[in-house]
Amino acid sequence: MNSIWVLLWWAVILVLGYWVYARHVAKNIFEVDGGRATPAKMYMDGVDFMPANKNVLFGFQLNSIAGAAPIIGPIVALQWGWVPALLWLGLGVFFIGWLHDFSSAMVSIRSDGDTFGALSYKLISPRARKILLTFVYFYLLLIATAFGHVITSGISKDAALPFPMLIIIGVAFLVGHMIYKARVNILVTTVVAIVIIFLSIYLGTVWKWSLSYTTVLVCVLIFGYFSSILPVWRFIQPYNYASVYVVYFGIIAGILGILIGAKPMTLPAFTSWSIGMGPLWPILFLTIACGSISGWHSLVSSTATSRQLENELDVRPVTGGAMFAEFTISIIAVIVCATAFADKAAYLKAVGNPTGIFTAGLGGAITTLGLPLSYAQALAGSMIIILALTIVNLVFRFMKVASAELLGDVVPIAKNPHIATIFALIITFILVKTGTWLYVWVLFGGANQLMAALALLLTTLFLAQKAKNYKVAIYPMYFMYITTVCGLFYMAFFKLIPAAMKGQKVFGNVFAAAVAVLLIICALILAYDGVKAFKRHRAAAVSAPEGQKAAA
C-alpha cells in the first residue's frame, strides 16, 4: 500500500478529532468561556503569569512536548505491524491524547494556575503529592535510561554523528556566551549557530569517528552532569535553542520527502497478536509512549502553558492542536520506517537501534529533495540524537531537584546538587549497561502513560467536584490505568524476572523489575486515594447549592 494513503487516516483523525469532538467537549463539558479571566491575566507578573498570543503558545507547546518518543515508540511498535500502530496512534489521540493535554491545562487554569503537585494535594490527598514525586523520580530514571541508550547506540553505531554532536555542544556554550554575556544580536547569533551546526553535520560525514558504546555512554553522562550543575543559561537553554532549527528542518524536509517520494509500505500491515516483546494488549499501548498520549504533556500543560494562556478559547488550539501536531510527527515516523526496509527481517535486525532505523528511513525520504544520501542520513541521525539529548539534559536536572525534595529532610546530603546528580548518573549508567533496552523502553512507556492516567484522574476529580459530566475523562482514565498497570505487571513478572532467572542481564533486569513494581505500588496507592476523593467530591457536589455547582 502506498504511504500516501496513511495521510488520509491522519487527515480524518485530525478533522474529526480536533474540529468536531474536541470542539464539542470544550464547549459542552468544560464550558470554555472567552470572557473569563485566566491566571495569566489575573496575576500578570511578567514572568510566570504572562498572557501570550495563542499562535506563539502553540509553537512553544509543540516545542516543549515533541521529543524523540513520538518517533522511537512507533518505530519499535512496527513489530506488531503498521496497522495496529496507526490505529492506536489515531484512536488514542482522538479519544484520549488531546483531551489529556487540554484538560490538564483547563484544570490548572480553573485552579489559579496550580501545578500537578498542588492539584494532587488538593484534589486527591495530602500524601498524593509525595507519592507522585516518588513516581516522577523513577519515571525520570526510566526516561534517562531509555533515551540514554538511544543516544549511545545511535552515536556509537554511526561514525558520522560524534563530530557534529561535539560541535553542537560547543556551539551551545558559544551561543550562551554570545546571547547572555556578549549581548550579541539574536539574529546574528542564530545565523552563526545554524551555519556552524549544518556545516559540522556535513564534516561529520567526512571526518568519521568510531567510538565504543561505553565511551559514548560515559560522555553522555558527563554531558548530563554539566547540564544539571551549570546554570540554565550557560548550557541547556542555548543548546535547546541552537539545535531546534536542525530538528524542525529535518521534520519539514521529511514531510516534503514523503509527499514527493510516495513510497510503498514494505513492512507487513499486521504480524501477530503476540510477539517477542509481549502481547499486543497491553504492550503496544505502552510502546507508543507519545504521539497518541503522553503523561509528560500534563506536566508542561499544567505549569508553563496554563499560566500563559490569555483566553480559555485558546486552550483547545494550543494544547489540543500541539497534541495533534505531535500525532503528525508520529505518523511521519511510521511512514518513513515502514517504507525504509526491504522486508520485516531487515527491520527486525535493526530494531535494537531505533536511531539507525530512523536515520535510514528519514534520510531516504530527504534524498528525494536532492540532498546526498550521506548528508541526509547524518541530518536525520543528528535530529533524533538532539531530540533525545534535549530530554536527557532536563531529566538529570529534574532528578536532582526531585531527590532534594523527596529525601532532603531525611538525608541532608541529597540536597547537595553534585551528590544528587552523580547518584542519578550512576544508577542510569548501571541500568543502561546492564538492562535490556526494549524492556526498559516499555517500562518508560508504562510510566509515561500511567502519569497520563493520573492526570486524567485529576481531571475526573475536578469535573466531579464541579458536578460536570466526568464520563469523558473517567473512561479514558480507566483504560489507561488498567492498561499501564497490567503492562508494567506483565513486563516485571513475565519478562524481566524470568529473563533474570535465566541468567540474562541479571542485575539490570531485576533492578528494572523493582522499578516497575514500585511504580505499580505508587499507582495503586494513588488509585485508592483517588477513589476516596472521588466519592468525597461527588457527595459534596450533590449536596452543594445550585449556584455553587454552576461556578466551575
Partner: protein
C-alpha cells in the same frame, strides 16, 4: 506587496473578496507560530533571569518590609553616626569625573 494600504497592479482584480486580509492574517499567525517554536523559550528565560535580579534587588531594599529580616539596614543604621560626617566628601568623590590627568597624578 501584501502590506495593509499598499496596492500593486492587478490588486483590484485579484483581491476583491477580502483575501488580502485573510492572507495577511495567516502570515501573521505563521510568524507567531515560528516565534513560539524557536524563540519563546529564549524570551521566557530572559524574563526569568530579569526576575531573579529584581528579586535580589527588592529583597535587599525592602526585605524587612515584607517580613524577610536581614541585617544590612540594621548595620547601616548602626554605622551611620560614624560615617555621616564623611558623606559630603564621599559624594563628591563618587560624582567627580575622572580624566587622564587625574590618573597621571596617581
Amino acid at each position: 506587496m501584501l502590506r495593509e494600504g499598499v496596492n500593486f497592479p492587478g490588486h483590484g482584480f485579484l483581491f476583491q473578496f477580502g483575501e488580502k486580509r485573510v492572507i495577511l492574517g495567516f502570515l501573521r499567525s505563521l510568524r507567531d507560530f515560528f516565534k513560539g517554536l524557536f524563540l519563546y523559550n529564549l524570551y521566557g528565560h530572559f524574563h526569568a533571569q530579569k526576575r531573579c535580579l529584581e528579586n535580589v534587588f527588592m529583597l535587599g531594599l525592602f526585605g524587612p518590609m515584607i517580613g524577610v529580616p536581614h541585617l544590612f539596614q540594621y548595620y547601616s543604621l548602626r554605622l551611620l553616626p560614624y560615617y555621616v560626617r564623611d558623606f559630603p566628601a564621599w559624594k563628591r568623590r563618587m560624582v567627580k569625573e575622572r580624566d587622564f590627568f587625574d590618573q597621571v597624578g596617581e
